[in-house]
């Protein structure tokens, strides 16, 4: 059965430029079971970036130099791509790249 999870997404470090200068987004993810960070990254790249997706995504993960926080917690402590997201989670993407 498909479930819908509502998430709040924030961008920092210049990454918002890729998302039409939008610093915050509300996203609804429809998935079988709980969505993962992998699902979210794919959704953002497919639905919210018009061009230069490669500056955000590399394979199925974010490019090196982009940090991810889930509810203010480093995603490296939450299984990174396989980390499950809950209703109302706040996910922050911060770029540390000057050129991107």
């Amino acid at each position: 059965m498909s479930t819908t999870t509502n998430l709040k997404i924030e961008f920092g470090g210049g990454l918002e430029i890729l998302f039409n200068n939008t610093p915050e987004l509300n996203v609804s993810l429809s998935t079988q079971g709980k969505p993962t960070v992998r699902d979210l990254i794919k959704h953002l790249a497919d639905e919210h970036i018009n061009e230069r997706k490669e500056l955000f995504i590399e394979g199925d993960t974010v490019r090196p130099g982009i940090l991810v926080l889930i509810n203010d917690c480093d995603w490296e402590l939450r299984d990174e791509l396989d980390g499950e997201l809950e209703q109302g989670d706040v996910v922050v993407f911060i770029s540390t790249l000057h050129g991107g």
Binding site: L55, D72, L77, T96, H98, G99, G100
Partner: protein
């Protein structure tokens, strides 16, 4: 090996190998041993409070080791771009200097009577870049005794009608044509490579910060006393700088200051206290601590949205951040190695400073360049017949390579910043003063 074609059946055998990552075993904060961790820095886990305490404590430890408690400076200068690193440095520096009651008032305030923020505006030169003056005003609004000096990149060309500029423009004895701003435009318009554009901008920004700081310091303490100037180069950024500087031919002067925690240039004592702090630590600290209404602002650069191979800096950045993700301790190791590089040029003959960047330049850069470059015989004959001193005689190899990377190639058609003449004059003075010192030991030609 893969042939690079995604449709090819021949695949890179290493492509499917997962990244080798070491996961920390403990699930509690390394410091307090009680709270759940929220951030992993290299292989250490911290809870939010311990991370903030440890990160600001790292700066405090450096500060106390560097400045005597009895010293009170009329001003501390800080170069601020508005980006994450300078926002972080501004915050920790201001925190240490602002009198507060209670916990967190780590050192006595008043190490400096005021904080002078120097901001170089790139909006006239970089397409799409904004003037961030208002954002930076917002960043310092809560702090007492802070002021901003804003300077445009164009101002590097003030007083640029120097003999060096004229000589470089190919018109000896005549001032370069064009107004101040058009000279800037000429320099950036006639440079083809993004690597050179970035290098020009970085060099101009560094020197404008130095010169504005010195000009302000002259009014406070006179010309002879050095005052501290803080620059916010992070461990990640210094690693990129170290590798890209070597790639650009700036290896000779690396030990002199560019990647060092402390150096002196143009009468300022330059401190780079963030050389042990990664961009990840800075980004998390800004996220946790810096108020929402004064968060860092990232401005456009020449390589914003550009592919990694667009410039040496971009490609090096790509390498370094990939290294940082895959093997977290390696970047800080490279950054620390940069601190250990020392300049070995003092004993060599023909030691001099580049009149453009101000760092030591190896003599006869042109000979070196000619030795590795393919040149036409006609050009060679022309250059040997010229009486003018060549660019290579007054510039370092890195600046020479950057400047000659223009559409003109064989002739540099734009003026150089005003300070080039000043540096050349100061070097002449140094040579004269050295001669004065050893004059008793010199033999006259008649003797």
């Amino acid at each position: 090996m893969s042939c690079g074609n995604p449709q090819s059946d021949v695949k890179d055998p290493g492509a499917e190998t997962p990244e080798r990552r070491t996961k920390p075993k403990n699930k509690i904060c390394l410091k307090c041993k009680t709270e759940a961790p929220v951030i992993q820095v290299r292989h250490a886990l911290y809870c939010r409070n311990c991370f903030i305490f440890t990160t600001s404590g790292k700066f405090l430890k450096w500060f106390l080791a560097t400045f005597k408690t009895t010293d009170i400076y009329p001003a501390f200068y800080i170069g601020v771009s508005g980006g994450p690193s300078s926002r972080y440095l501004l915050h920790v520096l201001q925190t240490q200097l602002t009198p507060r009651k209670g916990k967190g008032n780590f050192i006595r305030p008043g190490a400096a009577e005021k904080l002078v923020v120097i901001y170089v505006n790139h909006a006239n030169v970089v397409p799409g870049a904004q003037n961030l003056r208002k954002d930076i005003e917002n960043m310092i609004k809560g702090y007492p005794n802070a002021e901003i000096i804003e300077v445009d990149v164009d101002s590097a060309w003030k007083d640029s009608q120097s003999s060096i500029s004229a000589q470089l423009s190919g018109l000896p004895g005549q001032p370069p044509s064009g107004t101040t701003s058009s000279s800037t435009a000429d320099l950036f318009d006639s440079t083809l490579a993004t690597s050179s554009l970035e290098s020009h901008l970085s060099l101009l920004t560094h020197h404008l910060i130095l010169r504005e700081a010195r000009k302000h310091a002259d009014g406070l303490v006179g010309k002879d006393k050095e005052l501290p100037l803080f620059l916010a180069t992070s461990a990640t950024r210094v690693t990129i700088k170290l590798l890209s500087s070597m790639s650009r031919g700036r290896g000779w002067s690396l030990g002199s200051g560019e990647v060092q925690p402390e150096s002196s240039q143009f009468g300022m004592r330059i401190y780079q206290p963030l050389l042990n702090t990664s961009s990840k630590e800075i980004a998390y600290f800004n996220k946790y601590v810096v108020p929402d209404d004064s968060k860092p602002v990232v401005n456009r650069t020449f390589s914003t949205f550009a592919p990694p191979k667009s410039s040496i800096d971009r490609l090096t950045e790509e390498l370094v951040v990939s290294l940082e993700r895959g093997f977290p301790s390696t970047v800080s190791t490279v950054a620390k190695t940069g601190n250990k590089i020392s300049f070995a040029g003092e004993a060599k003959e023909g030691e001099r400073l580049c009149t453009l960047c101000g760092w030591p330049a190896r003599a006869k850069a042109n000979d070196w360049k000619n030795g590795i470059a393919i040149t036409k015989l006609d050009d060679k004959v022309e250059s040997t017949e010229s009486d003018q001193p060549s660019l290579a005689d007054i510039l370092c190899y890195g600046c020479y390579t950057n400047l000659t990377d223009s559409r003109a190639r064989s002739e540099v058609n734009y003026a150089l910043p005003g300070w080039t003449n000043e540096y050349a004059e100061s070097q002449k003075l140094t040579e004269e003063s050295m001669r004065e010192e050893i004059k008793d030991c010199l033999l006259d030609d008649d003797e």
